[in-house]
Assembly symmetry: C2
Homo-oligomer: 218 residues x 2
């Protein structure tokens, strides 16, 4: 009875979302309505509603008369996402101002990443990195833009789950995030923006290389 103003379809969507980020469901996999409904103990109609919610978040893809599939971020989609990130994040940095609450969040994310590094918990490092960039977007003070970025991040997370990011793909960003944070705290927003642009280009190349290197030829 843990539902408070949460629709059953939303609860179901959350459970599926958990399976997605946990890696139980892998990109490209087809989700059978009947089987999943039986498994989750809900009706097909409710499950279909949950599907809509997740499709809206870009986690699932719906093909008419074919079924629902776990989204498979294509190479093109990843390039697109990094393209947008450069536009949005860099511009958000330029709009930063002194004591914006998001700066504190950036600092928290950096600290969390460093702590996780100490425990060699690379998944936590990855999450902290995501939080860091989400905080950057929050600098723009735009709820809609933040929500949109959340969708992109979810899709990217999906791609990251596909390739189990090894240590060397996560570790470098800990220091880079710290540097970027310092630049921002120093008030050099334009410099930070250019710094992030290079940062993202490098990150994109690394991810694409890793993807193409392990059979991402979908």
């Amino acid at each position: 009875m843990a539902d408070s103003s949460l629709t059953l379809a939303e609860v179901v969507a959350d459970r599926i979302r958990a399976r997605l980020t946990f890696g139980v469901l892998t990109p490209g996999q087809r989700l059978s309505e009947a089987a999943l409904a039986r498994d989750l103990g809900v009706s097909r109609n409710t499950l279909r509603e949950a599907f809509r919610l997740l499709t809206k978040d870009g986690l699932l893809e719906h093909k008419t008369n074919r079924g629902v599939f776990v989204a498979t971020p294509s190479m093109g989609a990843i390039i697109d996402i990094y393209h947008i990130r450069r536009i949005v994040e860099c511009q958000a940095l330029r709009m930063a101002h002194g004591r914006h609450p998001a700066v504190a969040r950036m600092a928290e994310a950096v600290a969390a990443a460093q702590a996780a590094q100490g425990h060699q918990d690379w998944r936590a490092v990855g999450n902290a990195n995501m939080d860091f960039h989400a905080a950057i977007v929050e600098l723009a003070d735009s709820p809609k833009l933040t929500a949109f970025y959340g969708n992109l991040a979810a899709e990217l997370r999906l791609a990251f789950g596909l390739l189990k990011l090894p240590r060397n793909l996560h570790e470098p960003y800990i220091g880079m995030n710290a540097d970027l944070l310092a630049t921002v705290q120093d008030g050099q927003y334009e410099t930070a923006a250019r710094q992030l642009d290079r940062y993202l280009s490098q990150s994109e190349r690394a991810v694409l290389a890793a993807l193409s290197g392990q059979g991402g030829g979908g």
Copy 2:
């Protein structure tokens, strides 16, 4: 039976969307499942699926156990949208290059607006203006960003429907669009970006003034 690979729910969503942009359904209005389902000749379940699709586009709002309502773009939402437009459209302009196909679309939109002006068809002028700005976003060559902008535009259209934009709110932009297009065709992208920034600020002020001036105090 003009459906080809289009789900009935999608068709229904399109019909509702048409009613929204046409103004039959006004912001804040509640949509009864039973009544609308009967009216549209579909089952409640199908209509609910259509609701999900439209909610995803930001045109409808869903309140648990309360029903579905036509979204009422708040003052804050409009400010947010213009904020994002400045970020996205201006940056897209900076990324423009010589013979990008989107430039041709911008030209088409300008021509369409001028033609509509001749017929004093202000609704068509408004649509052409929307097309013009959508073309600007296409300069960024990002499908996801284009889709996102489409949602914002739909929400803005909703707000515009609320206040029946009079002639003087549409007409000035015809010339401004033409000027902007000329700057772009001249290859002065940075100049165009700054020009658009002022343009959008002015537009935002005009819209907000019109909104607050006719009882938008929701």
